[in-house]
Structures are given as C-alpha cells and as structure tokens.
C-alpha cells in the first residue's frame, strides 16, 4: 500500500515524464512540472530537491516498472523462445502505451549521462531491469537453449535492436506499427542468441 507521499511522488514522476517528452528535458523546469500539477514550486521541492534528483528517481521508476514486467515473464514455465517473444512484446507494448517511459530511457537517460554521473554509476539506477534481462539470459543458457557468451555482447544485441526499433518508430520512419514486427524480431533475436 502506497503512502500519500509516495502517491504524490508517482504523480509528479508521471507528469514530469510527459512534459519531458513534449518539451525536452532541458526545456522543462521544476516550475513547469509544479504548474502542470497545480502545486506550488515550494511544495514540489518537498518531494524532489532538484531536477537532477527527479531525473534519477524517474529512471529508477522506469527500471522497476520494466523489471517487474520482465520478472513476470521469467517466472513463467515456458521455453526461452517463448520468453524472448514475450519480453519483446511487452517492451513494444510499453513503448506504445507509455511512450514517454521508453522515450525517457533512450533520449534522456542514455543521451544525458552528465545528469546521471553522480548517484547512477554503472547500471545502479537500471538495476531491476538489467537483473531480469540477466536472469532471462542465464536461465536460457542453463537449460541449453541459448549460447553461452559475454553478457554484454548478448545484451547489446537484444536491447540495441529493440531500442533502435522504438527510436525509428519515434522518428516516424517505420512504415508499420511496432507490434507487427514482433514475430520477425523475436525470430531474429532468438536465432542470433540460440545455440
């Protein structure tokens, strides 16, 4: 059960996310976010002391959200091939239903590393998400479906591919909807990673 303060924080995060997506990270100020929520700027600072702190909390929020979704897939008793497809489906589904989340991940978190240097070292702030991807790989190797290799060579292939597709979609370059690519992409990724 969330406390009132946690609920408010989540509201702020969601509003900040949509403002960042609309106006860009650097063009959005704390007063803008406060205004969107009909809050005073002073009250806003009770929840987040600075825009940088808010930025880090947002990436953690997204990581927990996506990590939780992938965990649900990891805990299912299905083949690695099926898991691959389900993870891709949920990633694209999130890109469609919550585009601001994936947008933040790709355009703000990965492109403005200076904001995240202190406090988000390495992959600390995306830990839940990366952990579940690791478990998906590890279990795939353990049951003999996936080829054992360096984690990052597999991670780059998987996330680079998905991120690239969502980016192309965001640029209005893709001729079809994301979900229409799920079968082909699942086939390609599984084929590339399997033994």
């Amino acid at each position: 059960m969330q406390t009132k303060k946690e609920q408010k924080k989540e509201q702020i995060i969601q509003n900040a996310l949509s403002l960042f997506a609309k106006k860009g990270f650097y063009n959005t100020t704390i007063p803008d976010i406060a205004e969107a929520l009909k809050m005073s700027v002073g009250n806003m600072y009770n929840y987040f002391k600075s825009k940088d702190i808010l930025a880090k909390e947002i990436i953690k929020y997204i990581s927990i959200y996506l990590g939780g979704k992938i965990r649900e897939v990891n805990e299912q008793d299905i083949s690695t091939e099926q898991k691959t497809k389900k993870i891709i489906e949920l990633y694209f589904k999130t890109a469609l239903s919550k585009p601001e989340m994936i947008d933040y991940f790709l355009r703000i978190y990965l492109s403005n590393r200076e904001v995240f240097l202190d406090g988000c070292e390495g992959m600390i702030c995306v830990n839940e998400f990366v952990t579940e991807i690791m478990i998906y790989f590890e279990e795939g190797v353990k049951c003999g479906d996936l080829r054992d290799q360096d984690f990052f060579s597999a991670f780059g292939l998987f996330m680079g591919y998905l991120g690239g597709m969502v980016f192309l979609k965001g640029e209005n370059i893709l001729p079809k909807e994301l979900d229409e690519y799920v079968d082909d992409i699942s086939y390609n990724i599984y084929k590339a990673l399997s033994v």
């Binding site: 600390i124 830990n127 790989f137 590890e138 353990k142 054992d148 360096d150 984690f151």
Partner: protein
C-alpha cells in the same frame, strides 16, 4: 591416566591421504596418550591387518577411511563384512574423509556400487542404515587433522555433537570456507584480478573458488596452524562437498556471465542486485598490489 580409547583405522578404497594428513596433527603425541590405534595403516600398532581380519579385537571407535563397495576385499575378506563386524562392536563410527562419507573420487573407480558408508554423493544409502545413529561424518579430501582429533576428543568426553544432514559436526561444518578468508574484501567488491599464488584478488568470480558454498572450517582452523588454500592463493575445490570432485576446478562455471553456483543461501536476484551495485564502483586500493 584415564583409559585410552581403542581406535581401529580401517582403510577401504582409499589413497591413504587421510592417514597421511592426520600425521600433521600438531599435538599427535598428546593424542596418542589419550587414544590407541589397535591398527593404523601408517602408525605403529599392536595388531596387523591380518589380526584385524582373523581375530575378534576390541575397539571403541571404528574409523572408516575410503569408499565402500561390496566388491572390494581386504586379504580376500569383503570390506563390508569387516565393517559390519567391527561397526557393531564399536561405540562410535567415524567416516574419515569425503570418500568414506560420500564416495568421493573413488565413486568413479571400477568397483561396482562404490559409495560412502551412508551416502552416495547427496543421496542416502541403506546397506548400513542401522549404524547411522552411531556414525559421525568428517568429510574432506583430505580431512583436517584438528577436525578429526577434536571429534575423537568429543567422543571420549561424551560430548554430544550437533550434526548436520550428512552427520557432520556443525561445530566444524556449519561454516563455509569463505568464513575467515583473507580475500573477503575482494569478494565484497567483486574483484577477481587474481594471479595464482598472489595475495590479491578473490578467486570466486573467475578462478573456480567454491569457498562461498562449501561447508568446512579451513579458514577458521588453519591447516598446519599456518594457512589455507584460499589464503595461499589457490581456489577452494569444495573437497568436503557431497559432489566432490567436480570438473574444471580452476575455472568458474558461468552462464552468460553469472556464476552457476552462488554463495550459500543467496538468491539470484539478491546476488545480481549486489553485484550490479558493487561493480559500478572502482576501489583503487583493491586494484593495486597490497605491498
């Protein structure tokens, strides 16, 4: 002086490594004031192996060293008959070493059904089930001399030892080899830049060290009162474990970068979360030579 307890050291399918290891017990002379080997394969004793087999000797404690197989004989007498005869006379039985406890490396010998006295690796065996209540297991390849000696002293003093599921005294086997390892700081910060024989680096991440999931007291009771494998710069090979010996002892088995065997009782998500945090930081002091 109190009566010396009579011990029969019976070697089954064995390399005699445990008998040799026991010779390194630092207080062996005091030990021999308290115990007497009626037969021992190396230490001088009153009786010969022939006497053990042909006569009906008294013994308080039966030590079984080496794996058991119905096919294996000593001087034409099946080992299981010798074990059976003396086990019923003895007040206590101690399986000495991993072979006598779990089968060990001799499980792969040519003898059929080679196992430990009560276990075939992790699985219980039933041939000597009735003796389970008076058995204590001391696994190790070889045994740590102090662990065997202290167990025998406890028997002498009628101290009831708490045993684990493999009948091993928890006093020595509740710990992991990781407890007391001088490389713990490197483990905490996930640094395995180890070079064999050097003081720096944890060997768990790349070099196959099994200390975090092996139950034994090697870093609590140092070998020869001096050192342990991991302190000296050699990975723990898990020699007290039921599935010893595994293969590729100098390489950590990993699946896509994640160690297959994790520290005892640590869940995969917990491990990965911690690893993710610590790997994000570089601790300069731990990257350098100690001195």
């Amino acid at each position: 002086m109190c009566k010396k307890l009579q011990i029969l050291w019976l070697s089954a399918i064995s390399c005699n490594g445990n008998a040799h290891s026991f010779l390194n017990y630092p207080q062996l002379d005091v030990f021999l004031d308290n115990f007497e080997f009626i037969y021992h394969p190396i230490i001088e004793s009153d009786y010969t192996l022939e006497d053990v087999i042909n006569k009906d000797l008294d013994c308080d404690i039966l030590l079984i060293d080496g794996a058991i197989s119905p096919e294996f004989k000593k001087m034409d007498e099946p080992i299981i008959n010798i074990v059976d005869r003396y086990a019923h006379k003895a007040k206590k039985i101690v399986t000495v070493g991993t072979c006598a406890t779990f089968g060990g490396i001799f499980s792969q010998s040519g003898y059929a059904y080679t196992t430990g006295l009560h276990f075939n690796q992790k699985n219980p065996t039933f041939l000597f089930k009735s003796l389970k209540d008076k058995t204590i297991s001391i696994s190790g390849c070889p045994i740590q001399p102090e662990v065997l000696a202290s167990t025998l002293y406890a028997i002498k003093k009628d101290i009831k030892l708490k045993l684990d599921n493999y009948l091993r005294p928890q006093e020595f086997f509740a710990y992991t080899v990781h407890n007391g390892c001088t490389r713990n700081e490197y483990f905490e910060y996930k640094i395995d830049n180890h070079v064999f024989g050097k003081k720096e680096g944890c060997m768990f991440y790349d070099h196959g060290c099994q200390a975090p999931f092996t139950n034994a007291s090697c870093n609590k009771i140092l070998w020869n009162e001096v050192n342990s494998k991991t302190r000296a710069g050699l990975p723990c090979m898990g020699c007290t474990s039921p599935d010893f010996p595994k293969q590729n002892l100098f390489k950590t088995k990993k699946n896509m970068g994640i160690p297959q065997d994790l520290p005892l009782g640590v869940g995969k998500r917990t491990y990965l979360t911690l690893a993710g945090v610590t790997k994000a930081f570089k601790i300069k002091r731990l990257e350098e030579e100690l001195f």
